[in-house]
C-alpha cells in the first residue's frame, strides 16, 4: 500500500503554508470559481492573458493542504506560459492525478510530479484537481465549475452517513 505520508512532502506543506500568487487580480481577462460540494472546498482563479502569454494569475479560497498546494504550484507553473502550453499542462496534470498516465509519461509535469501519489487516494484526487478544473473553466469562460459537474471525468459520489 502507498505510504500516504509521501504525499505530504516538504514542497506541498510549504506551498500550503505559504501559498504563492494568493489573492485576486483587479481586472482579470479570465475568472472562474471552483467548488467541491462534497467537502465544501472552494477556490477562485483569476488570469490575465496577454496577446501571447499568461501575464498574471492568482488564486484564493478555503481548502485542504492538497488543494491549496496544487493551486499554488499551478500558478507558478502557468505564469509566463502560452495558453496552448497551459492547456497541455492541465491535461497532463489531470491524467497524472487520475492515474491515467504515470508522471514519467508527462513531459511538462516537472515539480508537479509530487502529486502523482494522489491517484492512489480516490477520495483525495478531487482535492488535487479542483484548481486545474477551475483554471480550465476560466479559459473556457465557465464562471463556476464543480468537481461534481456532469462532464467531470472524476464524477463519482464519495460516501455518506
Amino acid at each position: 500500500m502507498t505510504n500516504y505520508k509521501s504525499l505530504y512532502q516538504e514542497v506541498i506543506l510549504d506551498h500550503n503554508k505559504k501559498p504563492r500568487n494568493y489573492g485576486t487580480i483587479e481586472s482579470p481577462s479570465h475568472h472562474a470559481v471552483g467548488h467541491n460540494p462534497l467537502c465544501g472546498d472552494h477556490i477562485s482563479v483569476d488570469v490575465v492573458l496577454g496577446d501571447e502569454r499568461i501575464n498574471n494569475i492568482a488564486f484564493q479560497g478555503e481548502s485542504c493542504a492538497i488543494c491549496k498546494a496544487s493551486a499554488s504550484m499551478m500558478t507558478t507553473a502557468i505564469k509566463g506560459k502560452t495558453r496552448a502550453e497551459a492547456e497541455t499542462l492541465i491535461q497532463e496534470f489531470l491524467a497524472m492525478a487520475t492515474g491515467k498516465l504515470s508522471h514519467d509519461a508527462c513531459p511538462n509535469i516537472g515539480r508537479l510530479a509530487v502529486f502523482a501519489g494522489v491517484s492512489d487516494l480516490p477520495t483525495r484526487v478531487k482535492c488535487a484537481i479542483l484548481p486545474w478544473h477551475t483554471l480550465s473553466g476560466a479559459f473556457n469562460a465557465v464562471a463556476t465549475t464543480s468537481t461534481e459537474a456532469e462532464q467531470d471525468p472524476m464524477h463519482a459520489p464519495i460516501g455518506d452517513a
Binding site: 504525499l7 506543506l13 467537502c39 465544501g40 485542504c64 492538497i66 482535492c127 460516501g159 455518506d160 452517513a161
Partner: protein, 419 residues
Amino acid sequence: MSASQTTTKFQSTSAFDVERIRADFPILKLTVNDKPLVYLDNAASSQMPQQVIDRLVRYQTTQHANINRAVHYLSEIATSEFEEARRKLQRFINANDEREVIYTSGTTDSINLVMHGYGRKFIGAGDEIILTTLEHHSNIVPWQMLAEEKGAKIRVVPINDAGELLIDEYEKLFNERTKFVGVTHVSNALGSINPIKEMIAFAHARGVPVLVDGAQAAPHTKVDVQDLDCDFYAFSGHKLCGPTGIGILYGRAALLENMQPFKGGGDMILSVTFEKTTYNTIPHKFEAGTPPIAAAIGLGAAVDYLSEIGMDAIAAHEHALLKYATEQINTMPGVRVIGTAEHKAAVLSFAVDGVHPHDIGTLLNQEGVAVRTGHHCAQPVMQRLHVPATSRASFAFYNSMDEVDALIAGIRTVQKIFT
C-alpha cells in the same frame, strides 16, 4: 499524563472485558498501512461479530427460500425465522406489538415511508412540520419534498454553541398549524443526546405526532419506545452490528393502520383485481416485494448479541471512552472539540488549528486510524457552528482505551507534520 487521567482509563477497562469482545470481530484483526486497524467510524457503520456472520451463513446454507409464499419446508422455516427476528427487534425496543415493527432498508427508507404513508395523507397546504438544526439530511430532505408538494412549511429548532437544542424555542414554534415533529435522538455530527421524551410529551399535549430518527441512538443506548411514547422510531441494521440493507420503522399500530402504503407490490396485498386491491394488514402492508430476508435474520442475531452484553454496559463503556478521549483532546493545544453538549453519545467531532479535516483523515489513515471527515450529511449543523467540516471519531463498545491513545498519538503526528 496525570494520575486522574490514568484512573479514568483503567477503571473502565477492568469493568468491561473489551478484549474478549474484540475477539468476536474478525475485521478488527486487520492491519492498515502496516498498523493495527483502529476503527473509529462506527457512526457511519459498525462492524459485524462472528456470531452474526455465522447466522447469515447458516441461513444461506440451510434455511433460504422466499417467505410468505410456498408450503414447502424451506419457505416455512425462512418465514418463521424472519418473523422470529421481528419479535427480537420488538423486544429490543420494547414495542407493545410485533405488528408495529416494519422492516425497511434502513433509516432513510423508514423516514421516507412515514413521509409518504403519513405525511402525504395528513399534512396539507399551510401546515407546519417542526425539524431541528441537528438533523441528518435524511430527516430533512424527505420533509422538504413533502413541503414543496403540499405547500407546507418547515420550522427549525435552533441550537446553542454547545450543540444543544433550545427547548424554549422548540416550544415557541408550535401553533395550530403544527402537524408533525421530526427529531433525531442523537446528533450524528456532534453526539448531542436530545431530550426527546420531554419533546414528545410537549408535542402530544398539542395533538402532534413525533418521528424520532434513532439511527445514532439505537446502537448506543437502551431504546424503549413505550417509555418514550414516540409515534415513529427509525433505525438502521448496519450501525447495530447487523448487515446493510435492513432497517426498522417502529410505528404506533393505530397510526400505521390509517396510513397509505408506501410501495405497491406483492406481499402488501390481500387480494388484487383490476377493479380493486385490498391491502394487507400491518406490518405487511408496508413490506411490498421480497424483503432482505437474510439481512433481517442477521439483524435479529445482532440484537441478540448486543442484548447479551447489555445495552447499559455498552453505554457505560462507550461513555468512558468518550470521557477519556475528550479529556485527552482538551489537554492538546490547537485541538478543540466541536459539540460540547452536556449529554453526549460516543461521538467526538474535533478541529485542529490550521489543518483541514481531509488532511487529518488521510494522515490518520496512514496510522491505521479510521475516522470520518466532512460535513457528516448534516450541513445545517456545520453552517450553524461556522465550520465547513470536522473530523469525527465515533466509538463502539468494541473500541479500547488503547485505541483512544492511538487516535491522540495520530493527531499529534498530524500537528507535527503541519508545524
